[in-house]
């Protein structure tokens, strides 16, 4: 089933290349069909998921490169389950949103679907080589999507993005090989299976190196302060449909990698560096929010607010307890929903106004009452209003930080910084919402109409989810919690002989 979810968009992407460029109807049907089908299957997956089982479910294993024991192995647990559903959901919205594209629809769609497949693959891969392949597969379509169809300094932005991530991921590749070599030396069994490797107790000195190799790749992707500087460029240059996937789904792969690999594989290194990394995350929370306060360009504003919100997610991961990580996973879903809805709104406004600078228009509420209501709801969720979904995640994360043993020395500071960012969030979100929608109408184009049925349909699911998760987060957390618990208590059954000097060769 998981294979289908990943494969359908991939096959559709390849298939699109054989469709006539002019056959827009067929292209539309194929791409919407593929991503829709993928979403449907992921919903079935959600229904058939066994809440009580903390381990991997729906596992499929096929030999891929038997000589090196590399397998095609996929599966989901409570942590990745929601991210798979989220990715399928956001991708569907993004594909649907870009349907009325005029030029080079075919290539655009093919790349979008490839991006979807890559992101989904990252969340389900259980073999580290497979994981790496999907990880790089995400990168290629993004490069072209931003580089070809972006705006502004798109070449600069996309090159920066790709180089930045590539540096990280190459280090990760070294890390993967090294990790599996260690395992091979100890047991004379070559494997890239993450579920086997986590039980390996690695010498702390080696852990430190390996940890940073993996960590850098993930931290750049999240991004954790101060590795974030690709994000504003890439986000501002990125076409909105791509941005939906980029912010809604792909930005979660980093935090997911931290949870899946860094925490269980290198507990000693996490113990030593956790406080420091959380510091970066906490600074990023305030930093992003603070810069967002000064933005007038809506896209840049949401981009910087994303740095802030993603910082919350990273911070929760390093709280290293059930509340923090559970909150982080929930917040990944929340941020995916909220940020993508915000970018959709920005896109709609830009289309209608011809600008997305807050100085250039105001007072839309009268002309667009429906958008007004939806925008307000999403704004409130984004600034963390209790009762809506954003708050649940932030509350759990900050509670996790407060009670964390790992962060005990600085937990109060981190929570206060989080609190400051929440205050800033209310400032910049209200600037954005009130600046665009309220006050006397000014500089509005003639014949301004409210959002049409399709745009309503795109925003509506987000509005429902925002309220639903806020009112009743239990079904979400209940699926996450057992897996987090088992991940935190993973047993190190495979003891290696200490003292193998692997560190220090770099």
């Amino acid at each position: 089933m998981l294979t289908l979810i990943v494969l359908i968009p991939l096959v559709a992407a390849l298939g699109l290349l054989f469709v006539n460029k002019e056959a827009t109807g067929a292209i539309r049907n194929l791409s919407v069909g593929a991503s829709g089908l993928s979403l449907l299957i992921s919903l079935v997956l959600l229904l058939r998921f066994d809440t009580a089982d903390p381990g991997m479910q729906f596992v499929t294993t096929l030999a891929w490169v038997p000589m090196l024991h590399i397998n095609y192995q996929v599966g989901v647990d409570g942590i990745s389950l929601w991210l798979v559903v989220l990715t399928a959901f956001i991708s569907f919205i993004a594909v649907y949103f870009s349907l009325d594209r005029k030029e080079s629809l075919r290539n655009f769609m093919a790349l979008m679907l490839a991006l979807e497949a890559g992101t989904l693959g990252v969340f389900v891969a259980l073999d580290m080589v497979l994981f790496y392949v999907f990880w790089e597969l995400m990168l290629v379509p993004t490069y072209f999507l931003i580089g070809i169809w972006g705006e502004g300094r798109r070449i600069y932005a996309t090159t920066k993005f790709v180089l930045y991530t590539l540096v990280g991921s190459l280090l990760m590749l070294v890390g993967i090989l090294w990790l599996s070599l260690i395992h091979f030396e100890a047991t004379h069994e070559l494997t890239f299976d993450i579920q086997t490797l986590v039980h390996m107790k690695i010498d702390p000195a080696v852990q430190f190196w390996l940890f940073w190799f993996f960590f850098l790749a993930f931290a750049i992707k999240v991004p954790i302060f101060p590795l974030h500087s690709w994000l504003p460029h890439a986000y501002v240059a990125c076409p909105i449909p791509v941005l939906l996937i980029l912010t809604g789904a792909m930005s979660k792969t980093g935090a997911y990698g931290l949870i899946r690999f860094c925490l269980p594989l290198f507990p000693d290194a996490v113990e030593s560096f956790g406080l420091l990394i959380a510091c970066g995350a906490a600074i990023g929370i305030v930093y992003g929010a603070w810069i967002a306060v000064a933005q007038r360009d809506l896209k840049a504003l949401v981009a910087y607010s994303s740095i802030s919100h993603l910082g919350f997610i990273a911070l929760g991961v390093f709280a290293l307890n059930g509340e923090g990580i559970g909150g982080s996973v929930l917040q990944m879903v929340n941020h995916g929903i909220i940020a993508s809805a915000l970018f959709l709104i920005v896109a709609i406004l830009e289309k209608k106004m011809g600008t997305r600078n807050l100085n250039d228009f105001r007072g839309l509420s009268k002309a667009m009452p429906v958008l007004y209501g939806m925008f307000m709801l999403i704004t409130l969720a984004a600034l963390g209003l209790p009762g809506l979904n954003g708050f649940v995640g932030e509350f759990l994360i900050l509670m996790g930080v407060w009670t964390s043993h790992l962060l005990a020395d600085l937990s109060t500071t981190y929570v206060l910084m989080g609190g400051l960012a929440i205050v800033f969030a209310s400032v910049y979100m209200l600037y954005m919402f009130q600046g665009a929608m309220q006050e006397k109408p000014e500089k509005l184009p003639e014949n301004l109409t409210d959002i049409n049925r399709r745009e309503f349909g795109l925003l509506f699911p987000a509005c429902v989810l925002v309220v639903l998760i806020g009112l009743y987060p239990k079904p979400f957390i209940d699926r996450v919690a057992p897996s987090v618990e088992s991940m935190l208590t993973v047993e190190k059954t495979l003891n290696l002989h200490a003292g193998e000097d692997k560190g220090g060769h770099h």
Partner: protein, 620 residues
């Protein structure tokens, strides 16, 4: 038990949902009826709960009704549940009762407004949020309600969303309240960290053993809770949003910014009295801030010309009295004043609304005058409200305020300074409210606008509230009895004729001063104004607090944001990353120079290499 009390929550939220979806398609009459009916239903259910509590003393200990398990993550688990006990029912009576009356009034007041249904939807949302706040059985849902009332307040302050001043005022109120929310969230973390639960009943049971009096932990918890309380109840230094909040429609000011929401801070202290009793230092701070706010706000109220702003400052001032009472440990007196205040302050606001309505949306008292003849019912009810506010003997305000003033000295935690400042504040109260009264209703009309009395649907609520403003004062003992189970004690009634007389006298002196200045010629007034010009200026500009905040906090914050974007982000981090790329390219360019294709260069390089290796081998 009490599971039917969920109706109190469901009715208004259903009202909100239906009105915001279908409100535009319903007729105005039906919107008004529907909006009132939901709140009325909540009020009736509250009455049922009240009777059950009164009939069965056993139930007064409080009962929790759970709807479902909300979330479980790690060691943190939370049920969605409500707590029904005397304190929550007492608050609910005020919220839904006064709320209902104000809803009815709004039918008349908002009649001309094009967005009639949106108004009632928001009002219903407010009643729901406030009910969540007072019925919450744990700190988490207290915070949820706390933030939701902030939202409703934001929506209603900015109801006329095309008015820039209203939009700004709404944002200011929201942000200030978020600061309070964050304080409460941190307090909740600390409580959970120490006690492992957020449930009120558990927390209050465990607190006595977990904390020693004036522990660091309990002091911090109570202080962080106070941040929320002070932000919501507009106490110094988080008060600046309340006067601006008067940009909203007048019924909103009456309901949210006088009778109910702003009293949430007092409710919080009363609800957590177990915690506060463990932190006497914090109690002292509460009383101090309360009494300072009382005269601080009162002094500003004495010179404002906007009728609603004067009443807003009066609200701040009266809230200060409530905090004073709570701070000296007289919780049920604080709640009693909260109740009497809800009646007479709602009455004053609605009366002001009637005046504004009747004189074509004029709010400046200098443009009014002589409305006594044109608006007889408004006049007489406003007079009753003013007397109650000033603490005129035998009105409701007299009983509750007297009790606070006398206990400011006589209770264990009271002292003569609290008492003296409270008395001074009482004199100010009498002065500023009668200044407004004389300006508005007495004398000759100052403009040619022909004022008219409001329709019965607006005057009937006035009469009802006036009746209660006169009579509820006699119910003080009943309130005390009812709440005694929760606070664990009855309030003392110190017998001190001298201090009591001075307290009563202060209000009367204030009224007399207003008569002297505003009824007997303008010369004296102008003379005093000239004499005290600097003071007058300071008061009129609200002690320049807004300006100070702007210079110290708002402007630097924005400047820092821009600075960080410009210098730290672009010229710092981003630049550094780009430099890495540039340098790598530079290095490869230099390397590529070596690969020039010239055989001579290669040969030279080779020889140099061989020599170096040889030297390395030889000298090792």
């Amino acid at each position: 038990m009490f599971s039917y009390c969920w109706i109190i929550l469901f009715a208004p939220i259903a009202g909100f949902t239906i009105l915001s979806w279908y409100g535009n398609r319903m007729s105005r009459e039906r919107v008004g009826m529907f909006g009132c009916a939901t709140v009325g239903l909540s009020f009736l259910v509250t009455l049922v709960a009240l009777s059950e509590l009164l009939l069965d003393a056993e139930k007064q200990k409080g009962a929790v009704s759970t709807l479902y398990n909300w979330v479980t993550a790690g060691s943190f688990s939370l049920n969605l549940s409500i707590l029904i006990d005397p304190l929550s029912v007492f608050m609910l009576l005020i919220v839904t009762g006064v709320g209902f009356v104000i809803h009815v009034y709004s039918i008349g007041y908002m009649r001309e407004d094009p967005e009639y249904s949106r108004f009632f939807a928001y009002m219903n949302l407010f009643i729901f949020s406030m009910s969540v706040l007072v019925m919450a059985a744990d700190f988490f849902f207290l915070i949820v309600g706390w933030a939701l009332v902030g939202l409703a307040s934001y929506l209603l302050i900015g109801f006329w969303k095309e008015k820039t001043s209203a939009v700004l005022a709404a944002r200011k109120a929201f942000v200030m309240n978020v600061i309070g929310d964050v304080g409460m969230i941190i307090a909740a973390f600390m409580i959970f960290d120490h006690l492992g639960t957020l449930n009120f009943l558990d927390v209050f049971t465990l607190a006595g053993e977990a904390f020693r009096p004036n522990d660091d932990a309990i002091l911090l918890i109570t202080l962080f809770l106070l941040v929320g309380a002070f932000a919501k109840s507009a106490q110094i230094p988080l008060h600046t949003w309340l006067p601006d909040a008067m940009e909203g429609p007048t019924p909103v000011s009456a309901l949210i910014h006088a009778a109910t929401m702003v009293t949430a801070g007092v409710y919080l202290v009363a609800r957590c009295h177990v915690l506060y009793e463990l932190a006497p230092y914090t109690m002292y701070l509460i009383a101090t801030v309360g009494v300072v706010t009382a005269i601080f706000a009162g002094s500003m109220g004495m010179v404002q010309y906007d009728i609603k702003r004067v009443i807003a400052y009066s609200t701040m001032s009266q809230l200060g009295y409530m905090f004073l009472a709570a701070g000296v440990g007289m919780y049920s007196i604080a709640m009693f004043h909260l109740m009497t205040h809800a009646f007479f302050k709602a009455l004053l606001f609605l009366g002001a609304g009637s005046v504004i309505h009747g004189s074509n949306d004029e709010q400046d008292i200098r443009q009014m005058g002589g409305l006594r003849q044109a608006m007889p019912i408004t006049h007489i009810t406003f007079l009753i409200g003013s007397l109650a506010l000033a603490g005129f003997p035998l009105t409701s305000g007299f009983f509750s305020k007297e009790a606070i003033i006398i206990n400011a000295y006589h209770s264990d935690m009271g002292n003569i300074v609290f008492w003296a400042i409270a008395v001074l504040g009482a004199a100010m109260t009498g002065f500023y409210i009668f200044r407004v009264y004389f300006y508005t209703f007495v004398g000759q009309p100052r403009t040619s606008v022909h004022a008219h009395e409001s329709p019965p649907i607006m005057t009937a609520p006035l009469v009802l509230l006036a009746f209660f403003s006169l009579t509820v004062g006699f119910g003080g003992y009943m309130v005390d009895d009812f709440l005694a189970t929760y606070f664990g004690m009855h309030m003392p009634h110190p017998d001190d004729p001298v201090f009591e007389t001075i307290g009563v006298g202060a209000g009367l002196v204030g009224i007399a001063a207003a008569i002297v200045f505003y009824m007997t010629g303008k010369d004296r007034l102008e003379f005093i104004k000239q004499m005290l010009a600097p003071v007058y200026d300071l008061l009129f500009h609200k002690y320049y607090i807004d300006e100070i905040y702007d210079y110290l906090i708002v402007k630097p914050t924005r400047a820092t944001g821009a600075f960080m974007e410009e210098k730290v982000e672009r010229d710092g981090i981003d630049m550094a990353v780009d430099q890495v790329g540039t340098q790598v390219r530079e290095v490869s360019r230099v390397i590529s120079l070596w690969q020039s294709g010239k055989v001579r260069t290669y040969a030279f390089n080779m020889i140099v290499g061989v020599v170096i290796i040889l030297m390395f081998v030889v000298f090792q």
